[in-house]
Symmetry: none
Subunit: 236 residues, 2 copies
DNA sequence: TGCCGCCTGTCAGGTGGCCGTAAGGCGCGC
DNA sequence: GCGCGCCTTACGGCCACCTGACAGGCGGCA
């Protein structure tokens, strides 16, 4: 979620313009939705298959995704689940023709924020978009900037130039540890205690391995080695 | 690293930790937070009502306030707004329950720097505290000026005109030794004891070598030779 | 239920930096 | 000139660290 827009999203009912990705292969329905949403003042991009959606999401950050569940190259649910698993927290509204409870539940379980059932009233879609916007405007997770990265602690996500970087549980805890004591050297013992609580029976170079993995995923300059003492966060 | 248990070897002996005021009436949550924050190395004071908080703030300066919004003698938002109106800029992190969305937004508008939603992960709280520390870090750690150098003992870093100068472990310990006894001649025996504890026998000109290395990295005038006695820090 | 993929902790090989030593040179005092 | 203390450079050994690889575990999915 681009921070520049957040100040407008005060949750007072005043919704700012959002950048929305519409994933829908049906031309007629898609065009209608796109026009309507654009009329509402939002910026909308269009994807007609999951692969196109993935490309778009890799390039830019969106405030909301409108996701059809049946695409030419796959189903929306696994797609959504996969993105959530990788740490992407972009709000999602599901557009589904399958008026079946199980699909809806699957969708919400997979991490969707809301759904509308086709055929739907465009005014209802506007209302749902507004609802999601309001919900997230009431939850403007503060972003922390670390070098080129934007960290959202509540969402447990970290992005570089809008692109989310998936971290595993341990990797995240480690990174969090560095964030909690900026500009300070953390010894391996301190980090071990943080990662494995007190029952630390880790008798290997696990810390080194996780530091290595973090560096590979983020940037090799993010974590600085202080020989003989430990590690510290690189640039502030 | 031999022994490594000397407090002055780690550079963490100097506290760059924050003084934090926790304003929270819930005993269980408050104790948990207080313990965890203390474990992070910060100093924490406890207030259970706004009146106590006001008293504490009148007596001492704090680096950070953790503020619950529902206190027995009033709400946190007006309290915060009042302090901001009076020019107090102490960073504030709001502790709020999930269902207090509007209060959260009011809180940020009232001048809070961040918030965490109860129930929150203590590790996340640590990270947010670190974040606030970094955001407000004009000087998170006390800087010592030695001639053209800026020394940050906690971060174990030394800079010249902003450019960091990397020091090895031994070099740093040696430099620290001079810093701890400014304007005083240190004999080679004293320095050896500091560098190699008591046990290790060093039968060479190691001290001379390290002094030379330090001079090359820093400046040839930083360490003065007192022939026959030892060395002393150059600049006053 | 069984299969498969991801996470996790461990290990070993490799490497680069740090460390202590030694040796040669310089300058000061005698 | 000579001795002594100090400075500097060079070098081999060692160790902290890095990273690729792998087996076990766990959960998701068919």
């Amino acid at each position: 979620m681009p921070s520049g827009k957040r100040p407008n999203m005060t949750g007072n009912g005043i919704e700012s313009d959002m950048r929305i990705l519409l994933v829908e292969d049906n031309e007629v329905l898609g065009n209608a939705v796109a026009d309507h949403v654009a009329d509402d003042g939002h910026t909308i991009d269009r994807a007609r298959r999951l692969s196109e959606a993935a490309d778009a999401l890799a390039v830019a950050a969106y405030d909301l995704i409108l996701l059809d569940l049946m695409l030419p190259d796959g189903l929306g649910i696994p797609f959504l689940r996969g993105r959530r698993a990788r740490g992407d927290t972009t709000p999602v509204i599901i557009l589904t023709a399958l008026d079946q409870i199980t699909e809806r539940i699957d969708g919400l379980n997979a991490g969707a924020d809301d759904y509308v059932v086709k055929p739907f009233d465009l005014a209802e879609l506007s209302a749902r978009i507004g609802s999601v916007a309001r919900r997230y405007s009431g939850n403007p997770n503060p972003l922390i900037r670390v070098g080129p990265f934007e960290v959202d602690l509540a969402a447990r996500s970290i992005r570089r130039e809008g692109r989310p970087i998936p971290l595993t549980a341990r990797e995240w805890v480690l990174f969090e540890a560095f964030l909690s004591r900026p500009n300070q050297v953390l010894s391996k013992a301190q980090l071990e205690e943080r990662l494995w609580s007190f029952d630390a029976e880790v008798e290997s170079n696990a810390i080194e391995v996780y530091v290595s993995r973090l560096r590979r995923k983020l940037d090799h300059t993010v974590i600085e080695t202080v020989r003989g003492l430990g590690y510290k966060l690189g640039c502030p």
